[in-house]
Amino acid sequence: MVRDITVSYGSIRALDGVSVELESGKITSIVGPNGAGKTTLLKCINGIVRPSAGVVFLDGMDIRKIKQIKLARRMGHVPQLPPLHLPLTVFETVALGRRPYVSWVLSKKDIRTVEEAMKAVGIEHLSDRYFDELSGGERQKVLIAMALAQEPEVLLLDEPTSNLDIRHQLEILNLIRRLAREKNLTVVMAIHDLNLASRFSDIMIMLKDGRIFAIGSPREVLTPENIREVYGVEVTILTNPHLLVVPIGVVP
Protein backbone atom coordinates (compact mmCIF):
# COMPACT_ATOMS: atom_id res chain seq x y z
CA MET A 1 0.00 0.00 0.00
CA VAL A 2 2.84 2.42 0.74
CA ARG A 3 5.72 2.04 -1.65
CA ASP A 4 9.17 3.63 -1.47
CA ILE A 5 8.02 6.86 0.08
CA THR A 6 10.59 9.60 0.39
CA VAL A 7 9.82 13.03 1.80
CA SER A 8 12.29 15.86 2.17
CA TYR A 9 11.83 19.15 3.99
CA GLY A 10 14.62 21.23 2.51
CA SER A 11 17.78 19.27 3.09
CA ILE A 12 16.25 17.10 5.80
CA ARG A 13 14.95 13.71 4.77
CA ALA A 14 11.85 13.10 6.88
CA LEU A 15 11.14 9.77 5.22
CA ASP A 16 13.54 7.75 3.16
CA GLY A 17 12.27 4.87 1.06
CA VAL A 18 9.53 3.60 3.34
CA SER A 19 7.36 0.73 2.09
CA VAL A 20 4.54 -0.87 4.06
CA GLU A 21 1.53 -3.07 3.39
CA LEU A 22 -1.45 -2.24 5.61
CA GLU A 23 -4.22 -4.69 6.40
CA SER A 24 -7.89 -4.02 7.04
CA GLY A 25 -9.35 -4.94 10.41
CA LYS A 26 -5.89 -4.68 11.93
CA ILE A 27 -4.20 -1.97 13.95
CA THR A 28 -0.79 -0.97 12.72
CA SER A 29 1.16 1.26 15.04
CA ILE A 30 4.10 3.42 14.13
CA VAL A 31 6.68 3.91 16.88
CA GLY A 32 10.00 5.65 16.98
CA PRO A 33 11.70 8.61 18.61
CA ASN A 34 10.63 12.23 18.08
CA GLY A 35 11.42 13.32 14.55
CA ALA A 36 11.65 9.77 13.19
CA GLY A 37 8.96 10.49 10.61
CA LYS A 38 5.81 9.06 12.21
CA THR A 39 3.60 12.07 11.59
CA THR A 40 5.01 12.60 8.11
CA LEU A 41 4.24 9.00 7.20
CA LEU A 42 0.63 9.41 8.33
CA LYS A 43 0.32 12.65 6.38
CA CYS A 44 1.71 10.96 3.27
CA ILE A 45 -0.81 8.15 3.50
CA ASN A 46 -3.53 10.78 3.82
CA GLY A 47 -2.26 12.87 0.91
CA ILE A 48 -1.72 15.94 3.12
CA VAL A 49 1.99 15.77 2.35
CA ARG A 50 3.08 14.95 -1.18
CA PRO A 51 6.08 12.60 -1.15
CA SER A 52 8.95 13.70 -3.35
CA ALA A 53 9.30 10.10 -4.46
CA GLY A 54 7.23 6.99 -4.10
CA VAL A 55 3.54 6.22 -4.29
CA VAL A 56 0.73 5.52 -1.85
CA PHE A 57 -1.83 3.05 -3.09
CA LEU A 58 -5.38 2.62 -1.83
CA ASP A 59 -6.89 -0.64 -3.11
CA GLY A 60 -4.30 -0.65 -5.85
CA MET A 61 -5.07 2.90 -6.89
CA ASP A 62 -2.49 5.70 -6.74
CA ILE A 63 -3.94 8.24 -4.31
CA ARG A 64 -2.62 11.12 -6.39
CA LYS A 65 -5.16 10.07 -8.97
CA ILE A 66 -7.99 10.21 -6.43
CA LYS A 67 -9.55 13.64 -5.87
CA GLN A 68 -8.95 14.95 -2.35
CA ILE A 69 -12.67 15.06 -1.69
CA LYS A 70 -13.16 11.44 -2.82
CA LEU A 71 -10.18 10.43 -0.72
CA ALA A 72 -11.77 12.16 2.26
CA ARG A 73 -14.71 9.75 1.95
CA ARG A 74 -12.35 6.81 2.38
CA MET A 75 -9.75 8.00 4.88
CA GLY A 76 -10.23 9.69 8.21
CA HIS A 77 -7.40 11.47 9.96
CA VAL A 78 -7.32 12.34 13.65
CA PRO A 79 -4.67 15.05 14.02
CA GLN A 80 -2.10 15.11 16.78
CA LEU A 81 -2.91 18.60 17.98
CA PRO A 82 -6.56 19.50 18.06
CA PRO A 83 -7.17 23.18 17.42
CA LEU A 84 -6.74 25.24 20.58
CA HIS A 85 -9.97 27.06 20.00
CA LEU A 86 -12.89 25.68 18.11
CA PRO A 87 -16.02 27.76 18.52
CA LEU A 88 -18.32 24.92 17.52
CA THR A 89 -20.60 22.58 19.39
CA VAL A 90 -19.74 18.89 19.52
CA PHE A 91 -22.45 18.13 16.98
CA GLU A 92 -21.17 20.81 14.61
CA THR A 93 -17.62 19.55 14.99
CA VAL A 94 -18.50 15.92 14.26
CA ALA A 95 -20.63 17.15 11.35
CA LEU A 96 -17.45 18.56 9.77
CA GLY A 97 -16.72 14.92 8.99
CA ARG A 98 -19.62 15.05 6.52
CA ARG A 99 -17.88 17.82 4.58
CA PRO A 100 -16.80 15.40 1.82
CA TYR A 101 -20.43 14.47 1.22
CA VAL A 102 -22.50 17.64 1.58
CA SER A 103 -22.76 20.80 -0.46
CA TRP A 104 -24.96 22.91 1.83
CA VAL A 105 -27.66 21.18 3.88
CA LEU A 106 -27.03 18.19 6.12
CA SER A 107 -29.49 15.55 4.93
CA LYS A 108 -31.34 13.20 7.29
CA LYS A 109 -28.78 10.55 6.45
CA ASP A 110 -25.90 12.91 7.24
CA ILE A 111 -27.43 13.75 10.60
CA ARG A 112 -27.98 10.04 11.34
CA THR A 113 -24.35 9.28 10.44
CA VAL A 114 -23.15 12.05 12.73
CA GLU A 115 -25.33 10.74 15.56
CA GLU A 116 -24.11 7.19 15.03
CA ALA A 117 -20.50 8.36 15.05
CA MET A 118 -21.09 10.19 18.34
CA LYS A 119 -22.76 7.09 19.78
CA ALA A 120 -19.92 4.85 18.63
CA VAL A 121 -17.44 6.81 20.74
CA GLY A 122 -19.92 7.47 23.54
CA ILE A 123 -20.26 11.26 23.36
CA GLU A 124 -23.89 11.60 22.30
CA HIS A 125 -24.71 13.28 25.63
CA LEU A 126 -22.21 16.06 24.80
CA SER A 127 -23.89 16.95 21.51
CA ASP A 128 -24.80 20.54 22.39
CA ARG A 129 -21.73 21.34 24.45
CA TYR A 130 -19.01 23.55 23.02
CA PHE A 131 -15.78 21.84 21.97
CA ASP A 132 -13.79 24.40 23.98
CA GLU A 133 -15.49 23.33 27.21
CA LEU A 134 -14.48 19.67 26.92
CA SER A 135 -11.67 17.81 28.64
CA GLY A 136 -8.75 16.40 26.69
CA GLY A 137 -10.21 12.89 26.62
CA GLU A 138 -13.58 14.13 25.42
CA ARG A 139 -11.96 16.26 22.71
CA GLN A 140 -10.05 13.24 21.46
CA LYS A 141 -13.30 11.30 21.25
CA VAL A 142 -14.95 14.14 19.33
CA LEU A 143 -12.14 14.13 16.79
CA ILE A 144 -12.39 10.36 16.40
CA ALA A 145 -16.14 10.69 15.93
CA MET A 146 -15.51 13.33 13.28
CA ALA A 147 -13.23 10.95 11.40
CA LEU A 148 -15.84 8.18 11.74
CA ALA A 149 -18.51 10.48 10.31
CA GLN A 150 -16.44 10.43 7.12
CA GLU A 151 -17.37 6.70 6.89
CA PRO A 152 -13.75 5.82 6.15
CA GLU A 153 -12.13 2.52 5.29
CA VAL A 154 -8.83 3.77 6.66
CA LEU A 155 -8.48 5.52 10.00
CA LEU A 156 -5.24 7.37 10.70
CA LEU A 157 -4.52 8.56 14.22
CA ASP A 158 -1.62 10.73 15.28
CA GLU A 159 -0.77 10.22 18.97
CA PRO A 160 -4.33 9.48 20.01
CA THR A 161 -3.34 8.98 23.65
CA SER A 162 -0.91 11.83 24.28
CA ASN A 163 -2.12 14.17 27.02
CA LEU A 164 -4.62 11.64 28.35
CA ASP A 165 -4.73 9.96 31.75
CA ILE A 166 -4.36 6.17 31.86
CA ARG A 167 -8.09 5.55 32.05
CA HIS A 168 -8.74 7.65 28.96
CA GLN A 169 -5.77 6.10 27.20
CA LEU A 170 -7.26 2.64 27.68
CA GLU A 171 -10.75 3.84 26.78
CA ILE A 172 -9.60 5.42 23.54
CA LEU A 173 -7.47 2.47 22.49
CA ASN A 174 -10.20 -0.06 23.36
CA LEU A 175 -12.54 2.05 21.28
CA ILE A 176 -10.12 2.08 18.36
CA ARG A 177 -9.66 -1.68 18.58
CA ARG A 178 -13.42 -2.25 18.67
CA LEU A 179 -13.91 0.02 15.65
CA ALA A 180 -11.16 -1.75 13.73
CA ARG A 181 -12.79 -5.13 14.34
CA GLU A 182 -16.44 -4.13 13.92
CA LYS A 183 -16.11 -1.89 10.91
CA ASN A 184 -13.16 -3.77 9.45
CA LEU A 185 -11.18 -0.51 9.39
CA THR A 186 -7.56 -0.28 8.46
CA VAL A 187 -6.16 1.55 11.47
CA VAL A 188 -2.76 3.19 11.46
CA MET A 189 -1.64 5.11 14.50
CA ALA A 190 1.50 6.91 15.54
CA ILE A 191 2.09 6.37 19.23
CA HIS A 192 4.84 7.07 21.74
CA ASP A 193 3.90 4.76 24.58
CA LEU A 194 5.55 1.44 23.72
CA ASN A 195 3.61 -0.52 26.33
CA LEU A 196 0.24 0.69 25.11
CA ALA A 197 1.36 0.20 21.52
CA SER A 198 2.30 -3.40 22.25
CA ARG A 199 -1.03 -4.09 23.93
CA PHE A 200 -3.17 -2.70 21.15
CA SER A 201 -1.40 -3.25 17.88
CA ASP A 202 -1.36 -6.20 15.53
CA ILE A 203 1.58 -4.93 13.53
CA MET A 204 4.25 -2.56 14.69
CA ILE A 205 6.51 -0.40 12.55
CA MET A 206 9.59 1.03 14.21
CA LEU A 207 11.00 4.08 12.44
CA LYS A 208 14.49 5.49 12.82
CA ASP A 209 15.63 8.59 10.91
CA GLY A 210 12.91 8.20 8.32
CA ARG A 211 13.62 4.54 7.63
CA ILE A 212 11.86 1.41 8.78
CA PHE A 213 14.15 -0.11 11.37
CA ALA A 214 11.93 -3.05 12.31
CA ILE A 215 8.49 -4.32 11.39
CA GLY A 216 6.41 -7.21 12.70
CA SER A 217 4.40 -8.22 15.76
CA PRO A 218 5.03 -6.15 18.91
CA ARG A 219 7.01 -9.04 20.44
CA GLU A 220 9.26 -9.20 17.41
CA VAL A 221 9.85 -5.47 17.24
CA LEU A 222 10.16 -4.55 20.90
CA THR A 223 13.47 -6.19 21.79
CA PRO A 224 16.13 -4.66 24.05
CA GLU A 225 18.50 -4.57 21.07
CA ASN A 226 16.09 -2.66 18.80
CA ILE A 227 15.18 -0.18 21.49
CA ARG A 228 18.81 0.42 22.35
CA GLU A 229 19.62 1.02 18.70
CA VAL A 230 16.63 3.26 17.92
CA TYR A 231 16.06 5.19 21.15
CA GLY A 232 19.49 4.90 22.75
CA VAL A 233 17.86 3.55 25.89
CA GLU A 234 18.74 0.45 27.86
CA VAL A 235 15.58 -1.53 28.73
CA THR A 236 14.44 -4.78 30.25
CA ILE A 237 11.51 -6.51 28.56
CA LEU A 238 9.08 -8.41 30.78
CA THR A 239 6.64 -10.69 29.00
CA ASN A 240 4.34 -11.99 31.68
CA PRO A 241 1.40 -11.51 31.45
CA HIS A 242 1.76 -8.58 29.08
CA LEU A 243 4.81 -7.36 27.30
CA LEU A 244 6.27 -4.56 29.40
CA VAL A 245 9.15 -2.30 28.48
CA VAL A 246 11.02 -1.17 31.59
CA PRO A 247 13.52 1.62 30.94
CA ILE A 248 16.81 1.21 32.79
CA GLY A 249 18.90 4.11 31.58
CA VAL A 250 20.16 6.18 28.69
CA VAL A 251 22.94 4.63 26.62
CA PRO A 252 25.96 6.92 27.02
Binding site: L96, W104, Y130
Partner: protein, 336 residues
Amino acid sequence: MSKRRVFVLMLLVLALPLIVFISMSVGVLPVSPLGLILASLSPNHEVNPVAWAVIWYLRLPRALMAVMAGAVLAIAGVVLQGSLRNPLVSPFTLGVSSGASFGAALAIVLGVGIVGMGAYLIMANAFVFALLATFITLGIARLRGMTAESVILAGIAVMYMFSAGVTLLQYVAREWELTELVYWLMGDLSKASWHRLRYTVLAVIVCIPLFKFAWDLNVLMMGDDAAKSLGTDPSMTRVACACLSALAVSIVVCMTGPIGFIGLMAPHLARLVVGSDHRFLMPTSALIGALLLSTADLVARTIMMPLELPVGVVTAFFGVPLFVHLLLRTRREIWR
Protein backbone atom coordinates in the same frame (compact mmCIF):
# COMPACT_ATOMS: atom_id res chain seq x y z
CA MET B 1 -29.87 26.06 18.17
CA SER B 2 -31.12 25.67 14.64
CA LYS B 3 -34.52 27.17 15.42
CA ARG B 4 -32.94 30.09 17.21
CA ARG B 5 -30.78 30.80 14.20
CA VAL B 6 -33.75 30.84 11.85
CA PHE B 7 -35.56 33.15 14.29
CA VAL B 8 -32.59 35.53 14.42
CA LEU B 9 -32.32 35.54 10.64
CA MET B 10 -36.02 36.31 10.26
CA LEU B 11 -35.81 39.11 12.79
CA LEU B 12 -32.91 40.68 10.92
CA VAL B 13 -34.65 40.34 7.58
CA LEU B 14 -37.67 42.15 9.03
CA ALA B 15 -35.52 44.88 10.59
CA LEU B 16 -33.98 45.74 7.23
CA PRO B 17 -37.02 47.32 5.50
CA LEU B 18 -37.80 49.07 8.77
CA ILE B 19 -34.45 50.86 8.87
CA VAL B 20 -34.74 51.75 5.17
CA PHE B 21 -38.19 53.14 5.89
CA ILE B 22 -36.92 55.22 8.79
CA SER B 23 -33.96 56.46 6.75
CA MET B 24 -36.38 57.66 4.12
CA SER B 25 -38.57 59.59 6.54
CA VAL B 26 -35.89 61.28 8.66
CA GLY B 27 -33.77 64.18 7.51
CA VAL B 28 -33.64 67.93 7.05
CA LEU B 29 -36.96 67.66 5.30
CA PRO B 30 -39.12 65.43 7.50
CA VAL B 31 -41.54 63.28 5.60
CA SER B 32 -44.41 61.55 7.35
CA PRO B 33 -44.46 57.78 6.77
CA LEU B 34 -47.91 58.08 5.22
CA GLY B 35 -46.81 60.86 2.90
CA LEU B 36 -43.83 58.70 2.12
CA ILE B 37 -45.99 55.81 1.00
CA LEU B 38 -48.15 58.12 -1.06
CA ALA B 39 -45.07 59.73 -2.53
CA SER B 40 -43.55 56.44 -3.56
CA LEU B 41 -46.87 55.16 -4.91
CA SER B 42 -47.52 58.10 -7.20
CA PRO B 43 -44.66 58.89 -9.53
CA ASN B 44 -46.67 61.77 -11.02
CA HIS B 45 -45.42 64.69 -8.99
CA GLU B 46 -48.82 65.57 -7.55
CA VAL B 47 -48.40 64.70 -3.89
CA ASN B 48 -45.41 66.85 -3.06
CA PRO B 49 -42.77 67.13 -5.76
CA VAL B 50 -40.02 68.23 -3.38
CA ALA B 51 -40.62 65.42 -0.90
CA TRP B 52 -40.87 62.99 -3.76
CA ALA B 53 -37.60 64.14 -5.27
CA VAL B 54 -35.81 64.06 -1.94
CA ILE B 55 -36.97 60.55 -1.30
CA TRP B 56 -36.64 59.13 -4.77
CA TYR B 57 -33.36 60.72 -5.83
CA LEU B 58 -31.57 61.17 -2.52
CA ARG B 59 -32.77 59.11 0.39
CA LEU B 60 -33.88 55.86 -1.21
CA PRO B 61 -30.72 55.24 -3.27
CA ARG B 62 -28.65 56.23 -0.29
CA ALA B 63 -30.54 53.90 2.06
CA LEU B 64 -30.23 51.03 -0.40
CA MET B 65 -26.56 51.78 -0.92
CA ALA B 66 -26.02 51.62 2.84
CA VAL B 67 -27.78 48.25 2.98
CA MET B 68 -25.80 46.74 0.13
CA ALA B 69 -22.43 48.25 1.00
CA GLY B 70 -22.83 47.15 4.61
CA ALA B 71 -23.70 43.62 3.52
CA VAL B 72 -20.74 43.42 1.14
CA LEU B 73 -18.26 44.68 3.74
CA ALA B 74 -19.61 42.24 6.32
CA ILE B 75 -19.51 39.20 4.02
CA ALA B 76 -15.98 40.07 2.97
CA GLY B 77 -15.07 40.40 6.64
CA VAL B 78 -16.52 37.04 7.60
CA VAL B 79 -14.94 35.04 4.76
CA LEU B 80 -11.56 36.68 5.32
CA GLN B 81 -11.65 36.14 9.07
CA GLY B 82 -12.63 32.55 8.39
CA SER B 83 -10.19 31.74 5.64
CA LEU B 84 -7.30 33.48 7.39
CA ARG B 85 -8.38 32.12 10.78
CA ASN B 86 -7.86 35.44 12.50
CA PRO B 87 -10.50 37.44 14.36
CA LEU B 88 -8.75 40.77 13.81
CA VAL B 89 -8.86 40.56 10.02
CA SER B 90 -11.14 42.96 8.17
CA PRO B 91 -11.89 43.39 4.47
CA PHE B 92 -9.15 46.01 4.42
CA THR B 93 -6.45 43.66 5.72
CA LEU B 94 -5.53 42.69 2.17
CA GLY B 95 -4.70 46.32 1.39
CA VAL B 96 -7.96 47.14 -0.41
CA SER B 97 -8.66 50.41 1.36
CA SER B 98 -5.13 51.79 1.27
CA GLY B 99 -4.85 50.80 -2.40
CA ALA B 100 -8.16 52.52 -3.16
CA SER B 101 -7.11 55.59 -1.16
CA PHE B 102 -3.85 55.81 -3.07
CA GLY B 103 -5.66 55.49 -6.39
CA ALA B 104 -8.12 58.19 -5.39
CA ALA B 105 -5.29 60.42 -4.16
CA LEU B 106 -3.48 60.05 -7.47
CA ALA B 107 -6.58 61.16 -9.32
CA ILE B 108 -7.43 64.01 -6.95
CA VAL B 109 -3.95 65.43 -6.47
CA LEU B 110 -2.10 64.70 -9.68
CA GLY B 111 -5.09 64.19 -11.92
CA VAL B 112 -3.59 61.05 -13.35
CA GLY B 113 -5.60 57.91 -13.77
CA ILE B 114 -6.63 55.02 -15.91
CA VAL B 115 -9.92 56.04 -17.50
CA GLY B 116 -12.62 58.68 -17.23
CA MET B 117 -12.54 62.14 -15.75
CA GLY B 118 -13.68 63.95 -12.64
CA ALA B 119 -15.56 61.74 -10.21
CA TYR B 120 -15.21 58.76 -12.53
CA LEU B 121 -11.47 59.14 -12.74
CA ILE B 122 -11.33 58.93 -8.95
CA MET B 123 -13.64 55.92 -8.92
CA ALA B 124 -11.81 54.02 -11.63
CA ASN B 125 -8.46 54.76 -10.04
CA ALA B 126 -9.61 53.70 -6.59
CA PHE B 127 -11.01 50.48 -8.00
CA VAL B 128 -7.92 49.58 -10.00
CA PHE B 129 -5.50 50.33 -7.17
CA ALA B 130 -7.63 48.45 -4.65
CA LEU B 131 -7.37 45.35 -6.81
CA LEU B 132 -3.70 45.99 -7.48
CA ALA B 133 -2.99 46.11 -3.74
CA THR B 134 -4.82 42.80 -3.30
CA PHE B 135 -2.84 41.14 -6.05
CA ILE B 136 0.46 42.37 -4.63
CA THR B 137 -0.57 41.00 -1.23
CA LEU B 138 -1.53 37.61 -2.64
CA GLY B 139 1.57 37.56 -4.82
CA ILE B 140 3.83 38.02 -1.81
CA ALA B 141 1.84 35.51 0.23
CA ARG B 142 2.16 32.94 -2.53
CA LEU B 143 5.91 32.93 -2.03
CA ARG B 144 5.28 31.63 1.48
CA GLY B 145 2.78 28.97 0.45
CA MET B 146 -0.34 31.12 0.93
CA THR B 147 -0.56 30.40 4.64
CA ALA B 148 -2.90 32.52 6.73
CA GLU B 149 0.01 34.28 8.43
CA SER B 150 1.74 35.10 5.16
CA VAL B 151 -1.41 36.66 3.69
CA ILE B 152 -1.95 38.82 6.77
CA LEU B 153 1.66 39.95 6.99
CA ALA B 154 1.86 40.70 3.27
CA GLY B 155 -1.42 42.62 3.53
CA ILE B 156 -0.10 44.76 6.36
CA ALA B 157 3.11 45.47 4.44
CA VAL B 158 1.17 46.50 1.33
CA MET B 159 -1.15 48.61 3.45
CA TYR B 160 1.79 50.58 4.87
CA MET B 161 3.29 51.02 1.44
CA PHE B 162 0.16 52.54 -0.08
CA SER B 163 -0.55 54.59 3.05
CA ALA B 164 2.90 56.12 2.71
CA GLY B 165 2.00 56.93 -0.89
CA VAL B 166 -1.17 58.65 0.25
CA THR B 167 0.74 60.63 2.85
CA LEU B 168 3.23 61.74 0.23
CA LEU B 169 0.44 62.89 -2.07
CA GLN B 170 -1.19 64.75 0.80
CA TYR B 171 2.12 66.47 1.40
CA VAL B 172 2.39 67.75 -2.15
CA ALA B 173 -1.31 68.50 -2.59
CA ARG B 174 -2.68 72.00 -2.92
CA GLU B 175 -5.20 73.19 -0.38
CA TRP B 176 -8.42 72.43 -2.25
CA GLU B 177 -7.07 69.07 -3.40
CA LEU B 178 -6.18 68.22 0.16
CA THR B 179 -9.71 69.08 1.28
CA GLU B 180 -11.23 66.84 -1.36
CA LEU B 181 -8.82 64.01 -0.60
CA VAL B 182 -9.35 64.16 3.14
CA TYR B 183 -13.07 64.15 2.55
CA TRP B 184 -12.75 61.10 0.28
CA LEU B 185 -10.61 59.29 2.82
CA MET B 186 -13.27 59.61 5.49
CA GLY B 187 -15.72 57.49 3.57
CA ASP B 188 -19.34 58.44 3.15
CA LEU B 189 -22.50 57.57 1.28
CA SER B 190 -23.60 61.04 0.22
CA LYS B 191 -22.75 60.40 -3.42
CA ALA B 192 -25.22 57.53 -3.68
CA SER B 193 -27.37 57.62 -6.79
CA TRP B 194 -29.42 55.19 -8.81
CA HIS B 195 -26.58 55.05 -11.27
CA ARG B 196 -23.98 54.11 -8.65
CA LEU B 197 -26.39 51.69 -7.08
CA ARG B 198 -26.01 49.52 -10.17
CA TYR B 199 -22.36 48.96 -9.38
CA THR B 200 -23.23 48.19 -5.79
CA VAL B 201 -25.64 45.52 -6.99
CA LEU B 202 -22.74 44.11 -8.98
CA ALA B 203 -20.68 43.97 -5.79
CA VAL B 204 -23.46 42.04 -4.08
CA ILE B 205 -23.60 39.61 -7.00
CA VAL B 206 -19.84 39.07 -6.73
CA CYS B 207 -20.39 38.02 -3.10
CA ILE B 208 -22.90 35.30 -3.93
CA PRO B 209 -20.34 32.63 -4.98
CA LEU B 210 -18.65 33.09 -1.59
CA PHE B 211 -21.52 31.21 0.03
CA LYS B 212 -20.31 28.11 -1.77
CA PHE B 213 -17.30 28.12 0.55
CA ALA B 214 -19.31 27.89 3.78
CA TRP B 215 -18.28 24.29 4.49
CA ASP B 216 -14.70 24.92 3.44
CA LEU B 217 -14.53 27.78 5.92
CA ASN B 218 -16.04 25.54 8.58
CA VAL B 219 -13.43 22.82 8.16
CA LEU B 220 -10.64 25.41 7.96
CA MET B 221 -11.33 26.15 11.62
CA MET B 222 -9.70 22.76 12.27
CA GLY B 223 -6.45 23.90 10.68
CA ASP B 224 -4.96 23.46 7.23
CA ASP B 225 -3.97 19.80 7.53
CA ALA B 226 -7.29 18.69 8.92
CA ALA B 227 -9.07 20.70 6.25
CA LYS B 228 -7.08 18.91 3.57
CA SER B 229 -7.92 15.52 4.99
CA LEU B 230 -11.58 16.53 4.87
CA GLY B 231 -11.30 17.33 1.19
CA THR B 232 -10.82 21.12 1.28
CA ASP B 233 -7.91 22.84 -0.41
CA PRO B 234 -6.87 25.56 2.08
CA SER B 235 -4.86 27.77 -0.27
CA MET B 236 -7.42 27.51 -3.05
CA THR B 237 -10.14 28.51 -0.58
CA ARG B 238 -8.06 31.42 0.67
CA VAL B 239 -7.28 32.69 -2.83
CA ALA B 240 -10.88 32.39 -3.99
CA CYS B 241 -12.24 34.11 -0.88
CA ALA B 242 -9.61 36.82 -1.05
CA CYS B 243 -10.13 37.55 -4.76
CA LEU B 244 -13.92 37.57 -4.70
CA SER B 245 -14.19 39.62 -1.52
CA ALA B 246 -11.50 42.05 -2.67
CA LEU B 247 -13.34 42.54 -5.95
CA ALA B 248 -16.65 43.17 -4.19
CA VAL B 249 -15.12 45.49 -1.59
CA SER B 250 -13.16 47.37 -4.25
CA ILE B 251 -16.37 48.10 -6.11
CA VAL B 252 -17.95 49.47 -2.93
CA VAL B 253 -14.92 51.35 -1.64
CA CYS B 254 -14.22 53.11 -4.92
CA MET B 255 -17.62 54.78 -4.57
CA THR B 256 -17.86 55.30 -0.82
CA GLY B 257 -14.24 55.61 0.27
CA PRO B 258 -13.00 53.41 3.09
CA ILE B 259 -15.75 52.79 5.64
CA GLY B 260 -14.06 51.01 8.49
CA PHE B 261 -15.18 48.66 11.22
CA ILE B 262 -18.36 47.33 9.56
CA GLY B 263 -16.41 44.42 8.09
CA LEU B 264 -14.73 43.76 11.41
CA MET B 265 -17.69 44.26 13.67
CA ALA B 266 -20.53 42.59 11.83
CA PRO B 267 -18.95 39.08 11.79
CA HIS B 268 -18.23 39.24 15.52
CA LEU B 269 -21.73 40.37 16.36
CA ALA B 270 -23.12 37.63 14.11
CA ARG B 271 -20.97 35.01 15.85
CA LEU B 272 -22.44 36.05 19.17
CA VAL B 273 -25.99 35.40 18.00
CA VAL B 274 -25.76 32.40 15.63
CA GLY B 275 -22.45 30.71 16.39
CA SER B 276 -19.66 29.92 13.97
CA ASP B 277 -21.23 27.64 11.36
CA HIS B 278 -20.59 29.71 8.24
CA ARG B 279 -23.81 28.56 6.62
CA PHE B 280 -25.62 30.72 9.18
CA LEU B 281 -22.80 33.08 10.01
CA MET B 282 -22.46 34.46 6.47
CA PRO B 283 -26.08 35.53 5.88
CA THR B 284 -26.37 36.79 9.46
CA SER B 285 -23.21 38.86 9.10
CA ALA B 286 -24.49 40.30 5.83
CA LEU B 287 -27.75 41.37 7.45
CA ILE B 288 -26.03 42.78 10.53
CA GLY B 289 -23.56 44.66 8.33
CA ALA B 290 -26.43 46.12 6.34
CA LEU B 291 -28.23 47.19 9.50
CA LEU B 292 -25.09 48.63 11.07
CA LEU B 293 -24.19 50.76 8.07
CA SER B 294 -27.77 51.90 7.60
CA THR B 295 -27.99 52.91 11.23
CA ALA B 296 -24.59 54.58 11.15
CA ASP B 297 -25.58 56.54 8.06
CA LEU B 298 -28.85 57.54 9.65
CA VAL B 299 -26.91 58.84 12.66
CA ALA B 300 -24.36 60.55 10.43
CA ARG B 301 -27.10 62.38 8.55
CA THR B 302 -29.18 63.43 11.51
CA ILE B 303 -27.05 63.84 14.61
CA MET B 304 -25.85 67.34 13.69
CA MET B 305 -28.61 68.33 11.33
CA PRO B 306 -28.40 70.14 8.99
CA LEU B 307 -24.70 69.26 9.01
CA GLU B 308 -23.75 65.79 7.81
CA LEU B 309 -20.96 63.75 9.34
CA PRO B 310 -19.00 61.31 7.17
CA VAL B 311 -20.34 57.85 7.93
CA GLY B 312 -16.80 56.50 8.31
CA VAL B 313 -16.43 58.66 11.40
CA VAL B 314 -19.64 57.33 12.90
CA THR B 315 -18.76 53.67 12.25
CA ALA B 316 -15.38 54.26 13.86
CA PHE B 317 -17.06 55.75 16.90
CA PHE B 318 -19.27 52.66 17.05
CA GLY B 319 -16.35 50.46 16.28
CA VAL B 320 -13.71 51.60 18.71
CA PRO B 321 -15.61 50.63 21.87
CA LEU B 322 -16.31 47.20 20.36
CA PHE B 323 -12.72 46.80 19.28
CA VAL B 324 -11.48 47.58 22.78
CA HIS B 325 -14.04 45.19 24.15
CA LEU B 326 -12.72 42.47 21.83
CA LEU B 327 -9.15 43.10 22.84
CA LEU B 328 -10.00 42.92 26.50
CA ARG B 329 -11.77 39.58 26.25
CA THR B 330 -9.91 36.31 25.87
CA ARG B 331 -9.49 34.93 22.39
CA ARG B 332 -11.68 31.97 23.17
CA GLU B 333 -14.59 34.22 23.88
CA ILE B 334 -14.02 36.35 20.80
CA TRP B 335 -14.62 33.36 18.62
CA ARG B 336 -17.64 32.15 20.48
